[in-house]
């Protein structure tokens, strides 16, 4: 049983209310920080902890915090990115549903460390019920003196607001989030300037994921070193993995980074193996935008070592034989799943969610979707497969924000690892409409 830092009390009945949360030791970290620690101390603890951004990019949080510009007389803003809309990722939802006070506590600590007076939680519009949960929790925190003027009598005041988005995936990109928060169209901004210098209303702004902000609480409580002691190498601490797909026990699991993927999939403590006793075909380990890996490459790296759930191990092999930890949206496919259909489905998502600002992404995502639609529905030709690779190569790296890369990687990796299946769709257009590749190949083998 691995240690739980964030979800320790998630199962306690009524934990979303202030009274129960407080009874379980909640807001201890705020007391400790405001009474015994300076903002620099908190920042140092986060740096020592080696916490890396949990939203997908994995950038060290402490370093990101230290980049925040601190000009005199200009307010600084802390934003919580709760626009969790990546297909396969639903960890923040659980955190906010069950532990809204943990997020508030984490945000108070972060704002204290950064000297922010005001913070916003930008939450995706589809999480309607969570907005209410958060608002109730914030009202409770105000009523009990954890938010507002001069918290705990210290020289620190802090206001927290919840702002719902309108349900655009692109608004999870930090500059698009800022635009949306300012009331504009959610188009990503050109960088530089980076938000740390000029963000919300032109002020220095820091955008962090829900899970990153929550992780600050155990770091302050137990110290950065205790957090850094968990995990492997530069992947420290615990991480929430939201597992879904063809597994026996889908759900959100808190793991210590460095857990072998094989154990995660097959152990009863976690996913509990593949549903209906089928075989594993492929895994998308970090939300729909990261490269998909076939069964042999997800369990072992190309060098034959065990693949671990950590930033480094999953990225081992680059994009040729590796993937990314991303946001921790772990999607498992059994042998019956059609990779062409799955790739088309992802591509449809990115086509729908592209903001349309820059040409490679606007036109490219639509093109990918149309070609994949053709292939999936039995109208593809052999050269379409190479066309897919070529389009994705031309989108990748040429766009304003990473949505272009996110649209290109799943397609490029699916063709790389499952080319035979794409070819089968071209060669057997009729058959591919009736049955899937796995079953058809089984029949051939018999």
């Amino acid at each position: 049983m691995s240690r739980k830092l964030l979800l320790e009390h998630a199962e306690v009945p009524g934990i979303e209310t202030y009274a129960v949360y407080r009874k379980q030791g909640g807001y201890r970290a705020v007391e400790k920080a405001l009474k015994a620690l300076t903002p620099e101390n908190v920042l140092d603890e986060v740096k020592i902890s080696g916490l890396r951004g949990r939203g997908g990019a994995g950038f060290p949080t402490g370093m990101k915090w230290s980049f925040l510009a601190k000009p005199e007389g200009t307010p600084r803003y802390l934003l919580c990115n709760a626009d969790e809309s990546e297909p396969g990722t639903f960890k923040d939802r659980l955190l906010m549903e069950r532990l809204p006070h943990l997020l508030i506590e984490g945000m108070i600590l972060s704002a204290y460390a950064l000297g922010c007076r005001t913070a916003y939680i930008y939450i995706r519009g589809e999480y309607k019920w969570i907005i209410k949960i958060l608002e109730r929790a914030i009202a409770e925190a105000y009523a009990n003196g954890w938010l507002g003027e001069r918290i705990l009598g210290a020289d620190f005041s802090f206001d927290l607001h919840v702002t719902p988005g309108a349900g655009a995936y692109i608004c999870g990109e930090e500059t698009a989030l800022i635009e949306s928060l300012e009331g504009k169209r959610g188009n990503p901004r050109l960088k530089p300037p980076f938000p740390a210098v000029s963000g919300l209303w032109g002020c220095p702004t820091l955008v962090n994921n829900v899970e990153s902000l929550c992780a600050v609480v155990p770091i302050v409580n137990d110290g950065g070193e205790a957090f850094a002691a968990i995990g492997v190498g530069r992947s420290t601490g615990t991480k929430l993995i939201s597992a879904c797909g063809n597994i026996n026990k889908p759900g959100v699991y808190e793991i210590e980074l460095g857990l072998p993927v094989e154990e995660f999939i097959y152990s009863d403590e976690y996913c509990g193996g593949i549903k209906n006793g089928k075989r594993l075909k492929a895994v998308v380990p970090g939300g729909s935008s990261v490269p998909i890996l076939p069964a042999d490459l997800i369990l072992k790296t190309a060098a034959g070592e065990d693949r671990l759930l950590s930033y480094e191990s999953l990225a081992d092999g680059g994009f040729v034989s590796g993937s990314m930890l991303g946001s921790g949206g772990f999607i498992v496919y059994d042998e019956d799943q059609c990779m062409v259909r799955n790739t088309w489905n992802f591509s449809r998502f990115y086509h729908h969610e592209s903001c349309g600002q820059c040409s490679p992404c606007r036109e490219g995502t639509g093109w990918l979707e149309k070609v994949l639609h053709r292939l999936e529905h039995g109208h593809g030709r052999m050269h379409d497969i190479d066309l897919l690779v070529d389009i994705s190569k031309k989108i990748e790296g040429n766009t304003i924000c990473p949505l272009g890369d996110a649209a290109a990687w799943p397609v490029a990796s699916a063709v790389r690892h499952f080319r035979d299946e794409f070819e089968w769709h071209v060669l057997e257009p009729q058959l591919s409409q009736q049955r899937n590749f796995g079953l058809a190949m089984e029949a051939v083998a018999v």
């Binding site: 655009a168 692109i170 169209r185 050109l190 530089p192 086509h351 729908h352 969610e353 592209s354 903001c355 349309g356 600002q357 820059c358 040409s359 490679p360 606007r362 036109e363 490219g364 995502t365 639509g366 093109w367 149309k370 070609v371 066309l387 031309k394 790296g397 040429n398 766009t399 304003i400």
Partner: protein, 310 residues
């Protein structure tokens, strides 16, 4: 002042200048093409991705190259920066890709398009495009929209450069049009078919790099290269009155702003000058307009007449 080297040519520019403007200072073939950037429009640029270049050395202090290609219109130069544009095959490859993306949903109706001959996309495709398309799907189409009595919007041809949106934002009192919808369903529009009515609305036609916004008083009257452009002026109470009149014989077919070699107008002009003053007596002719000799319009050029030794 900072030093920057572009394709081996060194120049000195004030701090904060973009790579594109530094390249324009050097001039010639190494200037990246720009479809969405417009010097006079604050905030424009970065969208079309045709001006991408490679930064081989970020600055004197930080000698590392930048990891990705960058949009030259929105990346400021740093002291000692080394930039590769036409000397780097990867840049040309990326530019070719962008041209392909811009063209897959473009109707390619140049033969009946009024912009033909002065179209940035046409020039770009001529230089960087391929003669064949790999796009087999249906192209997206829209209905033609009249926005006001003088401007026609032809969304099929639009490349969503946002220039007209910035123009309306920065030049007129109240913007009534903008970008609607998302992704490849984005379109320029007025939501409920409003007309764009204010003194400077006609400038959206000048800033449009393609034939999406055209002058209804000129549509289908003539090919631009059959017309002779002249610099002209009149005493206008609203604008500077400095324009280019496009004549066929004595008749004035259309009036536009004065555009420089990169297609950017020197001064924005008002609607009265543009749409209503088409009689020869309205204008005082200064002389023939110099048109870049590479342009198809300069077929009938008058440039350098004075230098001719007969």
């Amino acid at each position: 002042m900072v030093k920057v080297k572009i394709d081996g040519f060194e120049t000195e520019v004030p701090e904060g200048t973009s790579i594109l403007n530094a390249a324009r200072q050097i001039g010639g073939d190494l200037v990246p093409p720009a479809m969405c950037y417009y010097t006079k429009l604050k905030g424009s640029g970065g969208k079309c991705r045709t001006c991408m270049v490679r930064v081989a050395q970020s600055s004197e202090k930080d000698q590392r190259p930048m990891p990705k290609l960058v949009a030259s219109c929105s990346t400021p130069v740093q002291d000692g920066m080394v930039v590769e544009n036409i000397t780097n095959p990867a840049v040309l490859e990326a530019r070719k890709a962008v041209v392909e993306f811009l063209l897959i949903n473009h109707p390619l109706d140049c033969p009946i398009c009024d912009q033909a001959g002065e179209c940035d996309l046409q020039n770009l495709a001529f230089e960087h495009g391929t003669s064949k398309t790999r796009y087999e799907e249906e192209r997206r189409t829209y209905d033609k929209i009249d926005i006001g009595p003088n401007i026609q919007l032809h969304m099929d041809r639009c490349i969503l450069c946002y220039r007209c949106v910035y123009t309306a934002d920065q030049l007129t009192d109240k913007r009534v049009h903008g970008v609607l919808n998302r992704g490849d369903a984005s379109e320029i529009g007025t939501y409920i078919q409003n007309s764009i009515e204010n003194d400077f609305s006609g400038n959206v036609i000048d800033v449009c790099p393609v034939g999406a916004l055209t002058d209804k008083t000129f549509r289908f009257k003539s090919r631009v290269w059959f017309l002779n452009p002249f610099d002209a002026y009149r005493n206008c109470p609203t604008c500077s009155g400095k324009v280019v009149v496009w004549k066929f014989g004595e008749a004035i077919y259309r009036v536009t702003g004065r555009k420089d070699q990169y297609g950017e107008v020197e001064e924005f002009i008002c609607n009265t000058c543009r749409f209503e003053k088409k009689a020869p007596e309205d204008w005082t002719i200064e002389g023939p307009r110099a048109i870049d000799r590479h342009s198809v319009i300069s077929q009938n050029h008058y440039e350098g007449f004075g230098d001719l030794k007969i």
